[in-house]
C-alpha cells in the first residue's frame, strides 16, 4: 500500500511539470507587458525594457519555465504584478475562505444528498421518492447564483435572520453561502446515490443477505451502501476538487474573498505570476484529492486493495501451500 502511495506521488511530478508548461506556454502567447503596466504610459521604452529584462521576460520560454520550476521547488512562486507581494502569500491569504466554504457546503451536500438518495432508493416509487426526484431535478436546473439571490432575499432581507454577504459576522456569515452551494450539490448527490443504490439493491448478494434473515436496515447500510460507495467517492472527489478551485459565482454574490474571485481578478489585471501560481496550486490540490479518492477506494473495496498491493495475493498463496503440504 505504501508502495502504491509513493508510486502515485511520483507520477504527480511529471503531470505537474506538463500542466505548468501548458499554462506557461498559453500565458506567454498573450501580449502582457508588465514593465509598461508598472511604470505607466509616460515611462521611456528603455526603462520598460530594463524592467522587463530584470524580470527575465526576454529569456526564451524554456529558460523561464526552468527558472519558474526551480523557484517552485524553493517555495517561490514569483511576485504578483498587481499586488507586488509574493504570489504564495496572496493565495494563502485567500484560500482559507475557499476551503471553509468547500468543506461546509460539501458536508451539507453529502449529508442531505446521500441520506435522501438512500431513502428514496429504498422506498422507490413512494411519495418521498417522487418528491425528492422532482426537487433534485428542479435544484439542478436552477443556477446557484439565482438560488443564492432568492435565499438572500428571503432569509436576510425579509426575515433578517442571517447576514446577506461578507465574512465579518463570524459563523453566521457562512450559513447562506454554505447552504446555497450545499443544496445545489446535494441534488446531484441525491440522484447519483439513488441510482447506484437501486442498482446495488438488485444484486444477488442482497438476496443472499435477505435469505439469511438480515433486517432491512442492515441490508441497506451494511450490504448495499458499502457497495454503492465507490461511484459516490469518485463524484465527491471531483466536486470537491472543483470547489477548492473557488466557486466564483458564490464568492461574487456573497462577497467572499476566496480563490475564485482572486483568479478572476488576476486574469482581468493581466497578473501573470498570480494566475500561474493559482492554477498550479489548484492542479496540485486536485491531484492530491484524486490520490485520496484512490486510497478511499482501496479502503472500501478489497478487490481494489488487492490490486494496489500485489503482495496480499502472494501471501495467501503461500499460506495455502503451507497448509497443503
Amino acid at each position: 500500500m505504501i508502495r502504491f502511495i509513493i508510486k502515485r506521488l511520483l507520477t504527480i511530478i511529471p503531470m505537474m511539470l506538463v500542466i505548468i508548461f501548458i499554462v506557461f506556454a498559453l500565458v506567454s502567447m498573450s501580449k502582457v507587458d508588465p514593465g509598461r503596466m508598472k511604470l505607466g504610459a509616460d515611462a521611456s521604452e528603455e526603462d520598460v525594457y530594463a524592467y522587463n529584462e530584470s524580470l527575465g521576460l526576454h529569456d526564451p520560454l524554456i529558460v523561464r519555465y526552468g527558472k519558474y520550476v526551480v523557484g517552485i521547488l524553493k517555495g517561490d512562486f514569483g511576485v504578483s504584478y498587481y499586488y507586488n507581494e509574493p504570489v504564495m502569500d496572496i493565495i494563502m491569504g485567500r484560500w482559507p475562505y475557499t476551503i471553509k466554504l468547500t468543506l461546509l457546503s460539501m458536508a451539507i451536500a453529502l449529508a442531505a444528498g446521500i441520506s435522501l438518495g438512500v431513502l428514496s432508493a429504498v422506498k422507490q416509487y413512494s411519495i418521498l421518492d417522487r418528491i425528492a426526484t422532482v426537487a433534485s431535478m428542479l435544484l439542478s436546473a436552477v443556477p446557484t447564483f439565482c438560488m443564492a439571490a432568492l435565499l438572500v432575499l428571503t432569509f436576510s432581507y425579509k426575515f433578517g435572520l442571517v447576514p446577506a454577504s461578507g465574512v465579518t459576522n463570524g459563523w453566521k456569515s457562512w450559513i447562506l453561502p454554505a447552504i446555497t452551494l450545499g443544496i445545489s450539490y446535494s441534488a446531484q448527490f441525491l440522484r447519483f446515490t439513488r441510482s447506484t443504490m437501486l442498482d446495488t439493491t438488485r444484486q444477488d448478494y442482497i438476496r443472499t443477505a435477505r435469505a439469511k434473515g438480515v433486517a432491512e436496515r442492515t441490508m441497506v447500510w451494511r450490504h448495499a451502501f458499502r457497495n454503492a460507495l465507490l461511484p459516490l467517492i469518485t463524484i465527491s472527489g471531483t466536486t470537491m476538487g472543483a470547489l477548492l478551485g473557488g466557486a466564483v459565482a458564490m464568492e461574487k454574490v456573497f462577497v467572499i474573498p476566496g480563490l475564485g474571485t482572486l483568479v478572476q481578478d488576476a486574469l482581468n489585471r493581466n497578473d501573470v505570476p498570480l494566475v500561474i501560481g493559482a492554477i498550479t496550486l489548484m492542479a496540485f490540490t486536485f491531484m492530491m484529492i484524486m490520490l485520496v479518492v484512490d486510497l478511499l477506494y482501496a479502503a472500501v473495496d478489497p478487490r481494489i486493495r488487492a490490486k494496489y498491493s500485489g503482495g496480499k495475493v502472494r501471501k495467501t498463496a503461500k499460506k495455502e501451500t503451507a497448509h497443503n503440504g
Partner: protein, 347 residues
C-alpha cells in the same frame, strides 16, 4: 394432535407478477409436499417457475410486482404466507435457508467470508460469541472443504466452486430444517459439480435436513433426490418418487418422456438427440387447457379446453374445480394429463 409428517406442504399455490398492463402467470395452482428428512427435486426448464416457487417459500419475491392470489405454504404446521416480515426474518437463514444459483455474485464482495458467515450465526444462534463464533465459522468452512484459516479472505480470493462452498456454509450454518438449493451446480464446471453434489448429499445426511433441490439436470435428481416434481409452465405435470419417475416401464407425462428422450444415451446408437419441438408458452399468454398441448405429440381435442376435476377444499370437502388438465393419482405417482384419465368423468 398428530405429529406433522410433512415438513413443507404447498397447497394450490398461484403466483403472478403484475407489471404495467401485463400479468405473468409464473406459478399456477401447484401443490407439493416434502416429508421430513427427504429431498424433493423440482425439475423443469428455464422459466418454468421453479425459482419463483422457492422464493415464495422464503417470501423473498419482489415486493412491487409479485402477487399470491391463492395458496398456502405450510412449514412445520404454520402457514408462512400469514407470517409478517419480522417473523419471516427469524425463519430465513435459521429454519429455512437457501443456496443460490450463481456463486460468483451471491457473496458480498466487500465483506470477508468470516463476516458473511458470522452474520447469519449472530442472527440465529445468539449463544455464539467471540472465540466460539470464530471456532464455529472455522468448523463450518472445514465442513464444506475450505481450510479454516481462509475465513479472513474476501470472495474475490476464491474460485467459483470455493465460493459455492462458502454459500453452502452460510446456508447450513444454523442447521436448517429445510434447505432450498436453487440450481446449486449450474454455474460450476462438471468436475466441481460432482464434488459439490457429493458434499451436499453428505451434509444433508449429517444435518438431517429436508431439501428442495431445484435443477434442470435429471442426473442430479437421480443422484440426490427421493421425490421428483416435474414443472412445466408454472404447473406440476408429474410428481412421484424417484423410482416412479425414472422407471421407463411406467406411465409418464408426455413432457417427462420428452425430457428423458433429450438426454444422450450411450447405449443406443443415434445421430441426434430428440428435443421437444417448440418452446414453452409465454407466461403472459398461457394456452387454454393443458399447458403442454401445443407441443404434445398425443394432443387430443379435450386437451385444448379446461376440464372439471375433483378436488378437496381446505376442510376436506370434495368439490369440482376447473383445471387445465385432470390429475391421475396412482399411489405416490401422479400425472396431470388427459391420456391416463377416463373420458367423461372427473379423475
Amino acid at each position: 394432535m398428530e405429529k406433522q409428517q410433512n415438513l413443507l406442504e404447498i397447497k394450490h399455490l398461484t403466483i403472478q407478477y403484475v407489471t404495467e398492463g401485463e400479468v405473468v402467470h409464473a406459478v399456477n395452482d401447484i401443490s407439493l409436499t416434502i416429508p421430513k428428512g427427504k429431498t424433493l427435486g423440482l425439475v423443469g426448464e428455464t422459466g418454468a417457475g421453479k425459482t419463483t416457487t422457492a422464493l415464495s417459500i422464503l417470501q423473498l419475491l419482489p415486493k412491487f410486482t409479485a402477487r399470491i392470489p391463492t395458496g398456502e405454504i405450510w412449514f412445520d404446521g404454520e402457514n408462512l404466507l400469514e407470517k409478517n416480515e419480522a417473523r419471516m426474518r427469524k425463519i430465513r437463514g435459521g429454519r429455512i435457508s437457501m443456496i443460490f444459483q450463481d456463486p460468483m455474485t451471491s457473496l458480498n464482495p466487500v465483506l470477508t467470508v468470516r463476516d458473511q458467515i458470522a452474520e447469519v450465526l449472530k442472527l440465529h444462534r445468539h449463544d455464539l460469541k467471540g472465540e466460539a463464533l470464530d471456532q464455529e465459522i472455522g468448523r463450518l468452512l472445514e465442513m464444506v472443504g475450505i481450510p479454516a484459516f481462509r475465513m479472513s479472505d474476501y470472495p474475490h480470493q476464491f474460485s467459483g466452486g470455493m465460493k459455492q462452498r462458502v454459500v453452502i456454509a452460510i446456508a447450513i450454518a444454523c442447521s436448517p430444517e429445510l434447505l432450498i438449493a436453487d440450481e446449486p451446480t449450474t454455474a460450476l464446471d462438471v468436475t466441481i459439480q460432482a464434488q459439490v453434489l457429493n458434499m451436499m448429499r453428505r451434509l444433508r445426511r449429517e444435518l438431517g435436513s429436508s431439501m428442495l433441490m431445484i435443477t434442470h439436470d435429471l442426473g442430479v435428481v437421480a443422484n440426490i433426490c427421493d421425490y421428483v416434481a416435474i414443472m412445466y409452465a408454472g404447473e406440476i405435470v408429474e410428481y412421484g418418487t424417484v423410482e416412479d419417475i425414472f422407471d421407463p416401464e411406467r406411465k409418464h407425462h408426455p413432457y417427462t418422456e420428452g425430457l428423458f428422450r433429450s438426454i444422450p444415451n450411450i447405449y443406443v446408437e443415434s445421430h441426434r438427440l430428440q428435443p421437444i419441438d417448440g418452446l414453452m408458452p409465454e407466461p403472459t399468454n398461457l394456452p387454454q387447457g393443458c399447458m403442454f398441448h401445443p407441443r404434445c405429440p398425443h394432443c387430443m381435442e379435450r386437451c385444448t379446453v379446461p376440464c372439471k376435476t375433483a378436488a378437496t377444499d381446505g376442510d376436506g370437502k370434495a368439490q369440482i374445480v376447473e383445471a387445465s388438465a385432470p390429475t391421475v393419482v396412482e399411489g405416490t405417482h401422479s400425472i396431470k394429463c388427459h391420456l391416463f384419465a377416463k373420458e367423461g368423468e372427473p379423475a
